[in-house]
Symmetry: C2
Subunit: 327 residues, 2 copies
């Protein structure tokens, strides 16, 4: 697998072998009470319970395992709004190598603190003025380190795709077919990996990308058939999902595999965080809650259907979480 070609299904099964014993096999949670409310069956893949509080550890660990040992020893560089930062820092720690993380200076305090706590060196940039890819490339060259991209990399996508394998296995245990799978989407690494896994493991089940309403680049790109960008002036509380445009590799997969895109307003994301607190006893961050938000706002007809919803992360500052519960 080169770092330019899209991954294939066997890259995901290989990733699953590498990750075994290093990741949490996150549960598929259900609430009969919430099911009654929506008139369908919701199964929540609680990836907020993953190591470092989001799915990102899977891709980071898989990608780093693909770096030749000698080169890996020189460390890694990543740029991230926060969850990828924590995933890379923790994976680097697991491999015993240094991690330098380029983070936006407005990243949630909890994500910065946790990245440092896992041994990552943090370098800040301005999300709306600087080009983080340039900063990352310069640091990597200076240090001889390998860049671990947040999503547009086959090793990353394959790692995230292991969630799809788990979903298929967990549905088989429940002896339950699924009518749809909803996945939060920023750059598209998570949803493309899951869609690729399910395309082989659970063929025929429609997979949807769910984005913040003001960052619906993937939804619009799927309609247009080519990669479109978001308005640079757009803002959202979903800090994990603010990628400016779909990735090249991720969009190539998503264009081929996804049933479409859905969206969630910030207020719907907050309401979904409160619903997840109440029904599932999980802490979900705004960006991690958009798929549940889409399910709860009736964008898809879920009456009598079984819908798998990925809750992708839980790294949220207490004040933001408290605000969602009080809304």
């Amino acid at each position: 697998m080169s770092t330019a070609d899209p991954p294939v299904f066997t890259d995901i099964t290989a990733a699953a072998d590498r990750l075994a014993g290093h990741v949490v096999r996150t549960p598929l949670l259900e609430s009969t009470r919430l099911n009654d409310q929506v008139g369908g069956r919701l199964l929540i893949k609680a990836e907020c319970l993953q190591r470092t509080g989001s799915f990102k550890f899977r891709g980071a660990f898989n990608r780093m395992s693909l770096i030749p040992d000698g080169r890996r020893a020189a460390g890694v560089v990543a740029y991230s709004s926060g969850n990828h930062a924590q995933g890379v820092a923790a994976a680097a720690r697991a491999f015993g190598v240094a991690a330098t993380i380029v983070m936006p200076k407005d990243a949630p305090a909890i994500k910065v603190a946790n990245t440092k706590a896992d041994g990552g060196e943090v370098v800040f940039y301005d999300r709306y003025r600087d080009v983080r890819e340039e900063i990352g490339a310069r640091l990597a060259e200076e240090r001889g380190a390998t860049i671990v991209k947040p999503y547009d990399d086959p090793g990353i996508i394959a790692g995230q795709g292991t969630i799809g394998l788990e979903i298929a296995a967990q549905l088989a245990t429940l002896e339950t077919p699924a009518d749809a799978v909803l996945v939060p989407c920023g750059g598209g690494g998570l949803v493309s990996g899951i869609a690729l896994a399910l395309n082989s493991a659970l063929p025929g089940v429609p997979v949807y990308a769910v984005e913040p309403a003001a960052f619906d680049d993937t939804r619009r790109s799927l309609v247009a058939g080519s990669r479109l960008a978001n308005d640079p002036a757009a803002r959202s509380i979903c800090d994990a999902l603010l990628a400016p445009t779909p990735g090249e590799i991720t969009f190539a997969l998503n264009h081929q595999l996804l049933a479409g895109g859905l969206t969630a307003s910030d207020q719907a994301a907050r309401a979904a965080m409160a619903a997840a607190f109440d029904a599932f006893k999980i802490v979900v961050e705004p960006g991690g809650a958009v798929a549940l938000a889409a399910a709860l706002t009736g964008q898809l007809d879920i009456g009598g259907k079984t819908v798998v919803v990925v809750a992708s992360g839980g790294n949220v500052d207490p004040t933001v979480f408290t605000g969602a519960l009080a809304a």
Copy 2:
């Protein structure tokens, strides 16, 4: 198995067979960041993720499966501060029979609402003036229903003990021995079941009951060698753990099997709720957090040790949870 004799190990393995496919195999969560802070390894058995938001569904479902079909059709009666109520209501719904729940009128609103949402009929009593056992017995006689006790019943204890089997299996997967297991304790059903399971599945590992500081009846009873009561004037935010005295069957087991009792102040429970939010992305209620509180307050020397901590429930009103995060 009569309803008077203590359960034995094979009652727990039989319960596990009955519960398979009906309960969540809750994950064992870990945070390298929190491990660094405490200088040991904490593994959190996140039973707040169980159906109905607490471990109670396990015991309720197992106990109800032991009622002869004809008699079960007449329904069940339970008395509970809330978590057992929800567990019994959901289990009754699974069996398609009626559940009448006797609840204290100061039970958390969320527990009352959820019990009703799962079809339970709620009858209120005064926690400090009425005798709930008498109210329950009267209702059961009127309706021909079976009483499902909250803890002092071998079928209940065996159901809760399935958590111990899962802990042993999950530690084996991690190839990790444990130095201690800490379990929240009210009437003692959960800790006695887990201790009974581990006594066979993981012999030699000390199991501790953890109680609210003002409700340390089991701790003192273990020291005294006989069942002692709590001060009727005592109060705690740990509403799930306010049993007045250890159960007969549970204490017989606990006296034989436990290494001792630990305690947590209300403030320590609140701090543990905040730590669980931050490190594990789980919602834990005050009573469900006492075992983590004991681990975090240094009552046990956990330096360099691996300690399994049961987080037993997550049914907490948003205002109480928000208060814990702000403390």
